[in-house]
């Protein structure tokens, strides 16, 4: 009976341990899987001609001649889009038309002043022009087809007036003609609604295809190019074809969001063919191609992380991590050596040990504030440095953050060195220091390297300590230790709280996080390989 119980408990134990391993692996997969999948899209994705244009302009990458050919190919397809939209606009954009009439009138006035006309002529033309202008404005502003027709006909009868020929007033007639044509197909009551929708559609086309050729170049870099990624273009296409509206489906119930086809909304108007055309020809307008953007890891990034890569961030994180390890390694090892070898067991040493253990549990934001108050505002200025956030202050703060872990791991490692080695070394006439450096330290090195590995991972991913002491969201590459820097951890945080822009660049956010994870993995791998080599040498292979 006892034998059976023992067998059952053994089996249960094995199953339990197996289950926990499976649980751990699945949690890891669930967390890392989607992150890595989406992050890889920052590097491996389908790009568009806009992307290649941006690469050429910002980073001087690509074949300019080939790109020119590609752009020319897309031009013809894009032209149709702009034509359809402009065409429709003429019938909708009454505000713009009214402005245009005013402009024409002013132009006419200027021309009259330069022309040598008699006073009589001048007055006549002026009053006629004013009259035409009024009529046009009434026509443009009215919703009644009859009123419009009446006014337009009135205007057009003066078309062949000899006084007005060869002047700016010819514009009046073109405007009247165009308006007449476009008005025929529009339901004038819906004009307001059309105006609103049209604005949205124009915005989407601007995001898709970039600024219209001939328009002035926008100020922000991110506005100068259309959709640089095919998946982004697909999303915009969806927004173009379907609008979201809140409607009241049932009385006394909250409003429900439904998707309405825009083509249906603009049915019967000149804009209707736009949707079908864009849907069918988007590929020809953007020329998507599969690409591996490995320069993501070395490129500088543009404001808002909209374009470009994470090169400076990787550099910043590496700098901070390595500098922090440089500070904490000797400090931690020497402190641990003192605690093990020289410290006697009195109350002061016990208090110190307790403090070290407590410090390991302090939240990292507290270290950040400490770093700000001590390093940035006091310590560095004490030695003549500038009193601002910099790499030096941030890495010192990170070193202090990870010091308890380092001391604990080193202490364990040094304590585990067999006493016999120490006795042998001392017996041969070595001093305590020589014994430590030549015998104890090399034997304790694998354990100390474990502490280094643990510290590396923590330091590379910390955001709170560097928040006030040395990280900056956007800035130039640091030129010295007294400059702040961008880092991967702070960059991820910054995108996450940047709301509007973050929604537009989800691939960048994932990309930054995955790069951070990969970087920590690489650093850990190096440290693990190093530790394995030291271990092998110690074991005698």
């Amino acid at each position: 009976m006892r034998h059976l119980i023992r067998r059952i408990t053994d089996k249960a134990f094995t199953i339990l341990t197996g289950t926990s391993i499976v649980l751990l692996a699945s949690v890891l997969l669930i967390i890392l899987g989607p992150m890595v999948w989406r992050g890889s899209k920052a590097v491996i994705f389908k790009d568009t001609v806009e992307f290649r244009k941006m690469q050429l302009d910002l980073f001087n990458r690509g074949n300019p001649a080939y790109l020119k050919i590609e752009s020319a190919e897309t031009e013809s397809f894009r032209k149709t889009v702009y034509e359809i939209v402009d065409d429709f606009k003429h019938g909708i954009d009454t505000e713009g038309l009214i402005d245009q009439t005013k402009q024409v009138y002013r132009q006419l006035g200027k021309e009259l002043r330069y022309k040598e006309a008699t006073n009589e002529e001048y007055q006549r033309i002026r009053s006629l022009a004013r009259d035409l202008r009024e009529r046009l404005q009434t026509a443009f502003g009215s919703n009644d087809k009859k009123v419009i027709k009446e006014n337009l006909d009135y205007v057009l009868q003066y078309r062949h007036d000899k006084d007005l020929a060869d002047t700016a007033a010819v514009e009046f007639f073109t405007l009247a003609e165009d308006f007449q044509q476009s008005v025929e197909n529009i339901d004038l009551n819906k004009r307001q609604q059309y105006a609103g929708s049209l604005q949205q559609i124009e915005e989407i086309i601007f995001r898709l295809l970039g600024p219209k050729p001939g328009d002035p170049l926008p100020a922000l870099t991110m506005d100068r190019y259309g959709a640089t990624r095919w998946d982004l273009a697909q999303k915009l296409l969806d927004k173009l074809l379907w609008s979201q509206q809140w409607i009241q489906q049932e009385a006394d119930q909250p409003l429900v969001k439904i998707r309405v086809s825009r083509a249906g909304e603009f049915a019967g108007t000149k804009l209707e063919p736009l949707f079908g055309y864009v849907e069918n020809n988007l590929e020809k307008m953007l020329k998507p191609e599969f690409t591996v953007y490995w320069q993501y890891f070395i490129d500088d990034s543009t404001p808002g992380h909209y374009f470009g890569g994470v090169g400076p961030e990787i550099l910043g994180t590496l700098l901070l991590t390595l500098l922090a390890m440089l500070f904490v390694f000797p400090l931690g090892v020497i402190s641990a050596a003192y605690l093990v070898e020289c410290a006697s067991d009195n109350i002061a040493i016990r208090i110190i040990r307790m403090s070290i253990n407590t410090l390991a549990g302090v939240p990292s934001i507290v270290f950040g504030l400490f770093g700000l108050a001590f390093f940035v505002l006091f310590f560095i200025p004490l030695f003549g440095g500038p009193s601002k956030p910099c790499i030096l202050a941030a890495s010192l703060t990170l070193a202090v953050l990870t010091l308890p872990v380092m001391i604990r791991a080193s202490e364990e490692a040094i304590r585990s060195v067999p006493q016999s080695y120490k006795e042998a070394s001392l017996g041969l006439g070595a001093s305590g220091f020589r014994t430590f450096m030549r015998v104890t330290f090399p034997v304790a090195l694998p354990g100390i390297l474990t502490g280094v590995i643990l510290s590396l991972s923590r330091v590379a991913g910390e955001t709170a300590p560097i928040l006030f002491t040395g990280a900056v969201a956007l800035g130039p590459l640091p030129k010295s230790l007294f400059d702040p820097t961008m880092t991967l951890s702070y960059g991820s945080y910054d995108i996450a709280v940047g709301d509007r822009l973050a929604m537009m660049v989800p691939h960048n956010q994932y990309g930054m996080v995955v790069t951070l994870v990969l970087l920590i993995l690489c650093l850990n791998a190096i440290a693990i390989v190093l530790r394995a080599r030291v271990s092998r040498k110690l074991r005698g292979q």
Binding site: S344, P418, Q419, S420, Y421, K422, E423, A424, S425, L426, G427, L428, G429, A430, S431, R434, R438, V439, P442, V443, K537, L538, R539, G540, Q541
Partner: protein, 294 residues
């Protein structure tokens, strides 16, 4: 041959076993010889002299009131049951006991006429003069060459050629050279137990000591390795003062010139090896060497 006040009734079989045992020890004692060995005129060894030396671990007594003199260019064995202070006394000679906290001493322990526990003692020099071999072989996790060259390196020998010469001489003196000369860069941990202990002896010899202390050097080794080390001790005794602590009475009888018997922290008897084993002066000694206790 049962002397002493306590006559314990023993069976006939026990009696026979005892007599056989004593006879074997006596024959070994005869091999060890007796008589005074003359001090060699060119011997440069030192003399260890202990005057009422006591060592305390806190309040517990390690050794109490030891007064003895260890003579140069010979092998002195210290025997006794477990916990009687043999190792404590040995480790006090080169002050390895300093590693243990809360200890205190009384009396004097002189090496070459200089009190080891004096404030002005240079520990580095002392330990260069007094080499030590431990119970369990403890070579450093370095190469064979680095192990042996460790000591000379500490004392200022930097040139590669000088170190190589010292390493070769020490390994030859320790009877290990032929076995390892092909690959001195091999890790010391890859050697067998007996080879490692000989390496530790070579390491101790490399600092050119005058005295070699051996704390049960063969207790962790097989008989063949033990034999090799005993041959080595035999060879070395002409140039070094060797003090060897051992549990193995046959070993003490085989290698040593003089033997000291410790019991419960006190020196019971110290005399020529032959006399100790054949004709011990104290009853305790006799009880121990005849195997009645300990």
């Amino acid at each position: 041959m049962q002397k002493g006040k306590d006559k314990m009734p023993i069976s006939a079989l026990e009696n026979q076993v005892n007599i056989d045992h004593i006879n074997s020890v006596v024959s070994l004692g005869q091999k060890a010889g007796s008589g005074i060995k003359k001090k060699k005129p060119d011997c440069k060894c030192a003399v260890i002299k202990s005057e009422n030396f006591s060592f305390y671990y806190g309040t517990k007594v390690g050794v109490k009131d030891i007064t003895m003199e260890i003579y140069p260019c010979s092998v002195t064995a210290i025997i006794g049951p477990s916990g009687c202070g043999k190792s404590t006394f040995l480790r006090s000679v080169n002050r390895i006991n300093d590693l243990i906290p809360h200890t205190r001493i009384e009396g004097r322990l002189l090496v070459n006429g200089h009190n080891v526990y004096d404030k002005s003692t240079n520990l580095v020099n002392l330990r260069q003069q007094v080499g030590m071999v431990f119970q369990k072989p403890n070579p450093f996790p370095k190469s064979i060459f680095d192990n042996v060259a460790y000591g000379p390196g500490l004392h200022g020998v930097k040139k590669r050629s000088a170190l190589q010469q010292i390493v070769e001489e020490s390994l030859k003196a320790a009877a290990l050279w032929d076995e390892v000369k092909d690959d001195l860069k091999k890790s010391a941990l890859a050697l067998s137990g007996g080879q490692q202990q000989r390496l530790c002896i070579a390491r101790a010899l490399a600092t050119r000591p005058n005295i070699i202390l051996m704390d049960e050097p063969c207790s962790a080794l097989d008989p063949i390795a033990t034999g090799k080390i005993e041959d080595l001790v035999d060879k070395l005794q002409h140039d070094y003062t060797i003090v060897i602590v051992t549990h193995n009475m046959q070993q003490a009888a085989r290698v040593s010139e003089r033997t000291a018997f410790f019991c419960l922290g006190e020196l019971i008897e110290y005399d020529w090896t032959g006399k100790i084993f054949r004709n011990p002066g104290k009853k305790q000694t006799e009880d121990y060497v005849t195997g009645r206790f300990g």
